[in-house]
């Protein structure tokens, strides 16, 4: 036990993590508590630091393929997307349209998988065991599809600078169509089982309210900022890849509480399904790898490439000095900014609500620590 620093104060210091069931990894939060109430929550990071940025500066562009998936185990493809788009922009490499469509298709599938993972984990934080297994049943379908295409289930290493490593086949496309249909049938079940549930609503509504000012102040992105009414989504605000070709909405919700973030994510699953459908329909013929991609990719100059990952804005800042290795790589990961909200969000709330708030922020710790 850590001795109470000031015995005259009736507070208690509680170490939540680095091994705790609801910190989802190696996040440590030092809580100053007054009974069940959290007075102050101080997240302590770095337990899973693996120097991904430094590795990006040592390895060449192609060598970094494997790293991107290791940062975010939930949505590895979005991380790959940002990296290859950044390098392509710096080196002026043309990507065939088919490859870009495949990238969007697979990234959106991955986004659905990531949201399903979050859905299950959030409900697990709130004490419901069963929804995670239903969500994993669906997620498994996506992982099987992506495994068939890329050969791996979590860390895909699928995107290449100049395209993607292999073309989609009919089995994958048919599977994706079946998945869209299946997921549309399953979503009402999730809403009945969870969204309408009175216990869940009581746990999520009016808990952890993020105001617009707070979201802007801390640089929150993704469903967190969309949950408080700001329709900030890189896919629409700074369109990249072939996203302008698709017809989809950015779901928002005004309240800013855990329920809003929950609703936004559940609606995003539906929007991703729409993109997947359109991508399969519009998929152009052609090569999947650019023809003029040099073996040794030399690039110079610097650029900031932002994409919308499942958890928010993911940015790669690449500064290159003419060699095939970046001089400096900086990754702006979405969960890191979203986590910084935690301290302000959780002062004065119950311990149970802290768990609920943390779950609703959808933190992926390896991505925060990098």
């Amino acid at each position: 036990m850590i001795p109470n620093p000031d015995p005259t104060q009736e507070t208690l210091v509680l170490n939540m993590g680095p091994q705790h069931p609801s910190t989802h990894g190696v996040l440590r939060i030092v809580l100053k508590m007054d009974g069940e109430y959290v007075l102050e929550a101080e997240p302590i990071l770095g337990y899973g630091h693996r120097m991904h940025e430094k590795m990006g500066e040592v390895r060449n562009h192609k060598g970094f393929y494997a790293n991107v998936g290791r940062m975010d185990y939930g949505g590895a493809l979005s991380f790959g997307h940002g990296h290859v788009l950044g390098v392509e922009r710096l080196s002026s490499i043309e990507v065939p349209e088919r490859a870009e469509y495949i990238r969007v298709l697979t990234t959106e599938l991955n986004r659905v998988a990531s949201h399903l993972l979050w859905f299950g984990a959030y409900l697990l934080d709130l004490g419901a065991f069963t929804p995670i297994l239903y969500a994993f049943d669906d997620r498994e379908f996506i992982l099987d599809l992506l495994e068939h295409l890329t050969g791996a289930r979590i860390t895909f290493s699928y995107f290449r600078i100049g395209g993607v490593c292999c073309d989609v086949d009919d089995k994958f496309l048919d599977g994706a169509k079946i998945f869209v249909k299946r997921m549309r049938e399953r979503l009402p079940m999730y809403h009945k089982l969870v969204t309408g549930n009175i216990i869940f609503r009581k746990r999520a509504e009016d808990v952890g309210i993020v105001t617009r000012d707070m979201a802007l102040k801390y640089g929150a992105t993704g469903p967190v900022i969309r949950g408080c009414g700001i329709d900030y989504d890189i896919r629409k605000t700074e369109p990249y890849s072939v996203y302008p070709d698709f017809d989809f909405d950015i779901p928002t919700d005004d309240k800013g509480d855990c329920m809003s973030r929950y609703k936004v994510r559940m609606e995003e699953i539906e929007q991703s399904l729409r993109i997947i459908e359109q991508a399969i329909e519009k998929l152009p013929e052609g090569p999947v790898m650019g023809e003029k991609v040099p073996k040794k990719i030399k690039s110079s100059g610097d650029c900031y490439m932002a994409v919308e990952a499942a958890r928010g804005e993911l940015g790669y800042y690449l500064a290159c000095d003419g060699t095939d290795t970046p001089y400096r790589m900086k990754i702006r990961s979405p969960s890191y900014s979203n986590l910084s909200l935690l301290k302000e969000l959780t002062s004065g709330i119950l311990l149970s609500d802290l768990v609920s708030v943390m779950g609703s922020l959808d933190l992926v710790i390896p991505e925060i620590d990098r």
Binding site: L14, D125, Y134, D137, F200, L351, S352
Partner: protein, 345 residues
Amino acid sequence: MSDLVNLLFTPPLGILVAVLLVVVFVFTNSAVLVYVERKLCGHIQRRPGPYEVGPFGILQTAIDGLKLMGKQILIPNGADRKLFMLAPILSFVPPIVAMIVVPFSDSVQVRDLDIGVLFVLSLAAVNVLAILIAGWASSNKYALFGAIRAVAQNVAYEIPLLISLLTAVLWTGSFKLSAFVDAQTGSVLEGANWFVFTPWGFVAFMVYFITGMAETNRAPFDMPEAESELTAGFHTEYSGMGFGLFFLGEYTNMLLMASIATTLFLGGYHLPFVTLGGSGFFIELMQVCIFLLKTYGLIFIMIWIRWTFPRVRFDQLMNFCWKFLIPVSMINLAVTAIVLKLGEL
């Protein structure tokens, strides 16, 4: 032969045999319930549950029990050793003792105390003491939180539990458990029947069932454990058989709660439409089966609820008790009293 039976089933030896039978039944019950719970939750989650050890995995609990017994009991530094060891026993023994007044059939009942209901309630209340001691003695902040929650929760939920049982007591006019069973014979058409079939009886039963789940610390009211918040709550520091006894205690408490519900509200060992007349071995056996069927039906619903819902928040739990259950049960008690009085006139 009949001499031997007489010797075995009459005092003084009879008491010992009966208590032994209860203990054996309680242990078997826990083993079966652990297996059933895991199997049910598995199927609800679309997986088979235990299935590797023995046919359909039925030996899984036996193996788990062996494993728990084989494990070292770790006592953390700074823990109150005596209290730490006492808590699991305190959580396990009272529900077993309380089982002796439960009437499984006409004659399968160890002791038919005149104050049966009070006896059960007073022993069931010891559970909270066990949790408090466990949490306090563990020298662990999470365990302490679990203990604090358990005390607040169990003390609050004791009130609607008592009031709902009082409704049944008013209706029967006795604290004797066999009197409740006798009052619920006959078929629906004849008038006298299960207490749950009357409107006030139904309300009292629902209140009792909900509070019973809270008293046994089952999800969605498993505040003292709440593994996503408090890692494992009050038994965070327990390992081996210490943990195992808490586990056994929980399942025995469930059984006790369900069998009291069966006795007081669901007609005990009677069927709703027919009266089993006469006596004899087969009638007794039938009665035991009916009783167990009802009891395990209730436990099945408890398990089903656990694997469906998220956990409620602590303040909501208390609000639900003080602002909903207690008023409802008190109104219900008043209505029952008035109706019974009017019926007498």
